[in-house]
Amino acid sequence: VDTNADLTRLLETHGAALRRIAGSWSRSDAERDDLLQEIGLALWTAWPRYRQQCPERAYVWRVALNCAFAHRRRHQRHEHLPEPLEHDASDAPSPDNILEKRQQREQLLRAIRQLPAETRALVTMQLEGLSLEEIAAVVGGNANAIGVRLHRAKAALLALVHQPAPPRPSPIRFFPAEKDPS
């Protein structure tokens, strides 16, 4: 088995989806890239055990989500901190429609990151377009039961998306702001 070739093929096929999973489980771009590497490494190590016990995409998602859980477990003590500004694309010079799309995406990701682990996993799979059978293969249950759980997860996400974004804490000032003379 040529593991390097397998890794390259897996990353080419599923890389974009893996990055989106990593983005849903991290609070900054740097953390996302770190998690993405972790997932790649886990995938590389786990791949020789793949015996077509489930569809390839489901197997990749299993590995990625389990990695994301472990990552979240290690970093959960930082969860209460405000999200770093890195994710905020509002300062980037972009045309209005791109900016609006980015803001929508940021709002969606923020809502996803507030969900509990299981709901977050279900929601990301559904958003990514996995079939019910594939989701059942990733989660490990029958499709009917998964359908019910998915419905609840979707409702939870929609409720969060419609909530107004929490105000960003004001930046720390080392010097008092100058008073307006007028």
Partner: protein, 186 residues
């Protein structure tokens, strides 16, 4: 709801940038190399510990007589650090999500139970030293020419001992509260 969901899905998938799979593959391979190197380093250090340090504890050399509990604490801390850094490294990640989450739930419950054990152990250490205090007080007064100097040393030692215990107790308590408040895995 379906239309709204489709719009969200489109927004989720449209992350607007291409992924450099070559760079990612190279980063993964480099990470694997560093992970193996780190593991080799830990194994060498553990072998050193086993061969040179551990026999000292049983032999009763001057160093271990002086350090006493410190020697044991060092070994325990070392093993604890090893467990902490390597935790999950060999765990299978290709299990289904429900099993993965169930494992994490059990792990969290075990951690909560462990913090309770640590609390009780700290209490035993704190109470266990109390009967020794009057003896130590008497000895400190007799051993030193100036009794006040001996008493000061004793106060500093006892203060340090209980200070460390209090520090560990507070850290442990915070950890337990954090674990109990975290409802991510329920």
């Amino acid at each position: 709801m379906t239309q709204q969901w489709d719009s969200l899905a489109e927004s989720f998938r449209d992350d607007g940038s291409q992924i450099d799979t070559q760079a990612l593959g190279a980063a993964v391979i480099e990470r694997r190399r560093r992970q193996r190197l780190g593991l080799a380093g830990e194994l060498v250090a553990s072998a050193f510990l086993l061969v040179f340090w551990a026999p000292q504890i049983g032999r009763g050399s001057l160093v271990t007589d002086l350090l006493g509990i410190g020697s044991v604490a060092f070994v325990v801390l070392w093993l604890g650090a090893l467990w902490h850094t390597r935790r999950g490294t060999w765990r299978r990640v290709d299990v289904d999500v429900d099993s993965g989450l169930a494992f994490l739930r059990r792990e969290r419950q075990a951690e909560v139970r462990w913090t309770v054990v640590v609390d009780r152990f700290l209490l035993a250490l704190a109470i266990g030293y109390l009967p020794v205090l009057p003896l130590a007080w008497r000895e400190a007064g007799m051993a030193d020419a100036a009794a006040s100097t001996g008493a000061l040393w004793l106060l500093a030692a006892v203060g340090g001992y209980y200070g460390i215990l209090a520090g560990v107790w507070v850290t442990n308590r915070r950890r337990r509260q954090r674990l109990l408040q975290d409802d991510t895995w329920t």
